[in-house]
Homo-oligomer: 396 residues x 4
Amino acid sequence: MYARHCCCIQRCMAVDALNALSIVTYEIDKKRKTNYRNFTNYLEYFQKNDIAATCAMTDVKGDRSLRPSEQADPDLYLRVVEKTEDGIVVRGAKCHTTAAVPSNEIIVMPTRGSREQDEDYAVAFTVPVDVKGLKFVARSTVPQEKREIDAPFRSRWGVTEAVTIFDDVFVPWNRVLMCGEWEFAGQAAELFAVYHRHSYCGCKPGVSDVLMGIAALLAEYNNIEDASHIRGKLTDMACTAEEIYACGIAGSVRGKSMGPGTCAPDMTLVNVGKYVAGTHIYDEIGRVHDIAGGFAITCPSEKDYFNPELKPYLEKYLKGRADVPTEDRLRAFKLAEDLTAHGFAGWLMVASCHGGGSPEAQRITIYRGYDYEKRKNIAKCLAGIKTFDEFPEFEE
Amino acid sequence: MYARHCCCIQRCMAVDALNALSIVTYEIDKKRKTNYRNFTNYLEYFQKNDIAATCAMTDVKGDRSLRPSEQADPDLYLRVVEKTEDGIVVRGAKCHTTAAVPSNEIIVMPTRGSREQDEDYAVAFTVPVDVKGLKFVARSTVPQEKREIDAPFRSRWGVTEAVTIFDDVFVPWNRVLMCGEWEFAGQAAELFAVYHRHSYCGCKPGVSDVLMGIAALLAEYNNIEDASHIRGKLTDMACTAEEIYACGIAGSVRGKSMGPGTCAPDMTLVNVGKYVAGTHIYDEIGRVHDIAGGFAITCPSEKDYFNPELKPYLEKYLKGRADVPTEDRLRAFKLAEDLTAHGFAGWLMVASCHGGGSPEAQRITIYRGYDYEKRKNIAKCLAGIKTFDEFPEFEE
Amino acid sequence: MYARHCCCIQRCMAVDALNALSIVTYEIDKKRKTNYRNFTNYLEYFQKNDIAATCAMTDVKGDRSLRPSEQADPDLYLRVVEKTEDGIVVRGAKCHTTAAVPSNEIIVMPTRGSREQDEDYAVAFTVPVDVKGLKFVARSTVPQEKREIDAPFRSRWGVTEAVTIFDDVFVPWNRVLMCGEWEFAGQAAELFAVYHRHSYCGCKPGVSDVLMGIAALLAEYNNIEDASHIRGKLTDMACTAEEIYACGIAGSVRGKSMGPGTCAPDMTLVNVGKYVAGTHIYDEIGRVHDIAGGFAITCPSEKDYFNPELKPYLEKYLKGRADVPTEDRLRAFKLAEDLTAHGFAGWLMVASCHGGGSPEAQRITIYRGYDYEKRKNIAKCLAGIKTFDEFPEFEE
Amino acid sequence: MYARHCCCIQRCMAVDALNALSIVTYEIDKKRKTNYRNFTNYLEYFQKNDIAATCAMTDVKGDRSLRPSEQADPDLYLRVVEKTEDGIVVRGAKCHTTAAVPSNEIIVMPTRGSREQDEDYAVAFTVPVDVKGLKFVARSTVPQEKREIDAPFRSRWGVTEAVTIFDDVFVPWNRVLMCGEWEFAGQAAELFAVYHRHSYCGCKPGVSDVLMGIAALLAEYNNIEDASHIRGKLTDMACTAEEIYACGIAGSVRGKSMGPGTCAPDMTLVNVGKYVAGTHIYDEIGRVHDIAGGFAITCPSEKDYFNPELKPYLEKYLKGRADVPTEDRLRAFKLAEDLTAHGFAGWLMVASCHGGGSPEAQRITIYRGYDYEKRKNIAKCLAGIKTFDEFPEFEE
């Protein structure tokens, strides 16, 4: 539960990747007569051993205006450099691998669609984190010891992100899930995106819950809950959370069973949900600031608050409503600071914006998948250019 | 189907009112030991005879800062002026009664919650349109003969709206569904709103389909479909439609069965959906204008186009892409004009904004119904003011 | 004054065109050794005779993805078809020519930049409206007789727009202001746009004044002026008007004297102002609707109001606050309807959006003219990639 | 210059306070026959000695629903507790005092309008920072040693904010600028706000320059400068900066000379400018994130980059365009991180939002100062309720 930890264990990454791979390996087998029932074996192993995995997807990409095989350095997208009887050797680097370090395994997916000349880049597989040649250049975002009041929900580890380097890593065939089937790389990437954007529709409202909670609490502590502009801002926050959540539910309802029986959510709806999430996080944080006031960045530290010489002054002057202990008010401001005005807020904003793909990626997916032709036909009929009789789908 | 007629038969009004009344009459009977099984009798009659009805809800209200019984004129909210053995006599006026004139019957609902002193105003009933004392001051919004090209989807009747006057109308007891149970008036109004806002979540995306259709068609005819800002605007339109639609589906999924077995949609979700619909219609129309260009208001009339002296000039100079007949292009512009730059657009905008209640009404409903306390508790726990153990609902 | 007539005499078109031409003809003369002092002669004549002129600029354009000389029909941009000793013969059509019919003269400008192969399209000149071969296919937008209450500010002529056809019109050399100087066509078009967008920064706040006026008046008549969301919406409207106005003033302050001594406003600022105007008109109209309520489209007609049988009912039931006569309230709603929910609103919205160029045209101008390199250099210095010493412009 | 230091010396606080006090002391003297020419003496001293001062304005406020004298603790707004022949003794605390610690003096202003019973709270004066009884509980926001690449523009002191406690501080009469003139407290607070919001209109575009700079630089380094959505986002950022700047210039142009000859900027325009600044900072930061991509929070640290074992990998895999050194790209990401995804971004957002007063404070000021009556009169005339002849101000 997001609220309880103000963070999550990021297992969505693996589950979303496995869902996508279940479909893609099935489709590849059907067309290419391959035997990627490696996938079901892996799934069984994954479930039986309760594997904690992450998914490494985004390649480092180099010059973004060039395709994989056009780059000055051919390794800027991960690729197969050797095939042997026993397996494949891969080289390259994935970035933005959240939670790689504490995982047992890494599931590797292609980052984008390929053309035939990029077939070496159409590769998916799994590896344990301690495989030879696998290196993480990890960073820990804003780790901070939780103290008495300051940094209320922090851990001393923070959130780990990594550049994941495959320095000629060997992968045995039974862990290979795609190798050279370039025409399926796009589908793999898209399906992962669909599942992961659907996950956001469920998890982002949990973030909103926390942000609304601290905003509403500070409104109460400052005794401005009845101001209509405060109520309006809290309403805006609820609207954002519920729009995202609605897209998630509707995305499930309109989901469809795919080849192997895996259900895929509705592409348009989940993209809309993730898009709202990734673009509205800034407003949400702005509303918390607006309601909290300047203390979100000017509130004294607990070191000063607990200093016996200063405490009487701060007890007196940081007091809000008579019935709220000064310390509680201070705690609430420190939570607001940590959530919305600290490095954690930076992580939250960027992760909301780019996790599961950038807002532009969602917009492109929505545009490409949307049936504008059907809607043009409605307009043609209403304008007298065509008649509804020509379109059986408009039968009443 | 909205698209086919670019309008609708407005039967949602009656259905939404009946759903609301099914619950309220049941609750009244349970508490007040009344016998509003009049309702089920009416429903049977309604279904058996395929009654086309509308719902008259909004009172004329006079000075909006005053409650019903405080008005200078006590009739500014509809009220019971006499009770006899056979029935009741009602006086007052309802406004904004869409589609009253072509209906068989009118279902009358209270417009708002009441206090005890307003009990005469807590009244709901049904009447046939030809009952004695019932008067409609109707108007027909932008009726226009459909011509060859101009006014492509119009009818010579337009959309009818009415001020519905009850000049001491007698209603027999078997048609009375609420009479004096002031403590239920608020619930009746709210439930109607919930159902009607849910209806909007289904119907407004149909309006968006038409608007997207004409925008996309003009983009094609002007050969600007590939311009990225055009694609972006069409994407925005799709997002709006899908957000509303998602709230409708999610509102159904999260609906709950009420006392008599009628299912009511989730109040928050459908209010969010209607709110998005009512506030985004302006953007949607703006995007059509943006894509269409100035011809939406400067395009010559069909009278000029079909004038033999002018036609060669207009054929030549109104030509767009080589493969699109000038007349088709002209038809598309005329549809854009009629939909978005004519009196019909005015109706569409105001009806989207205020139908089912104003945006502010939705905001108030969302705010009041939202569980901010639960979210404050999350914040309290994260801030160390409380612990999660104190709240069983946060059990993992 | 916009407010007084709820319309304007559109003389900005000619003045903006003359300002632009004063600079361009001066620059052409300097480079090409031409003698476009025709311009100053014309200006003298224009001022002496108090000529009312409009500017015909936008060509019909045909397939928008093709340049003038690439079109299937070479006349889809206005062009010189013959040059004689006495003058030139032009053919083509301009569209969206507002107020052409009541003008004395038409000033013709090129619509866009040219390449060398398009030199026939680089032409500017003036003609009287009764010149041989000039035809207007005019339309009158929403003409309506002003009645007692309905259509309060209308005229029976409406706003005239025209497709202006040049069917081999002869223009004597002394009225020719550009002819074949293709490399100046872009500057002419841009300068007209700059002046005209500047004009919008002054005139659009006048439109906003009227819209704010009717919104505030209805708030008063409905006695909801003290509701905080109403105050908030009126505040939003003031912000929009003042942002546009501020861009106009700042655009003047930062203007620069050009070659012949004509002052040109700051390109970026006036484009920002027009952009805000053209994209916010939808919100402004939406706020009027929101404040007015449904009566903006459901209010009975004056025919019903003055009908002796109906008047007592409507006097009684359309009454708002006790101190406001019903007729005044009805008049206010009719003004709201006419301004924001009628064909006039369509004209207002599209004219705000596309007049002086589309929002996208402003965005492109802003992007192209903005000094991002300077700002990149700031970032480079702050990031330690360069040092401020390398950039004399950052000297403190 | 903001760009050069990515911060400022905050001298606007004192200058804005002195401007406001020049007017208020003049007005008080005129009405109350006091002798606040203490002000001009102080100004002379201030200029002669080049005093660096800050202004302490915002009281800690306690329960915000209560006025100063109604608080449980009378000291929650700063007040005069004693008057002697030599001066006054003040008690209370001001919060959010930016740059107090490095200042020479503090200028103290009342935080809001007073009623007669609050006259002890209507007090303004100046003190040196080392006066007896004055205490700062200061905090340093995100101090960080500038390193080779990380934390590129940081200082090891950060931004200082303080709670400024007046523990019975004695102020001699010649430093007292207001004492008990409760009817002028509101004007003092408002005037300071006007000047300070005007300052924001000049300084906030400097912040935008830096944010646009890093966004544009990363677009270049990622080779996505030509993507139309990137250009669109950079255009949005330019629009925001220029709108704010335009309000500043227009606020000056429309300024008026006040009683003592001090010029005060236009209240409405500068409030609109500050409002745009304070509410759009979130979008601006969002656009930087959007353009930068996930590396804004996942980019490895310089410690890893300079690690000889890791450097070859990071040089290879963090390479973008062939012509941009990896280190430059890394530096740019680190600047983006520091500016927009770190504690400094929190400070920037909250300071933009609340500095010079909250967005709601600006909205209230705009609404209260705006002449809606004049605009209602326009509407009345257009609706036929009044005639323009009744209003001389509408004379053409």
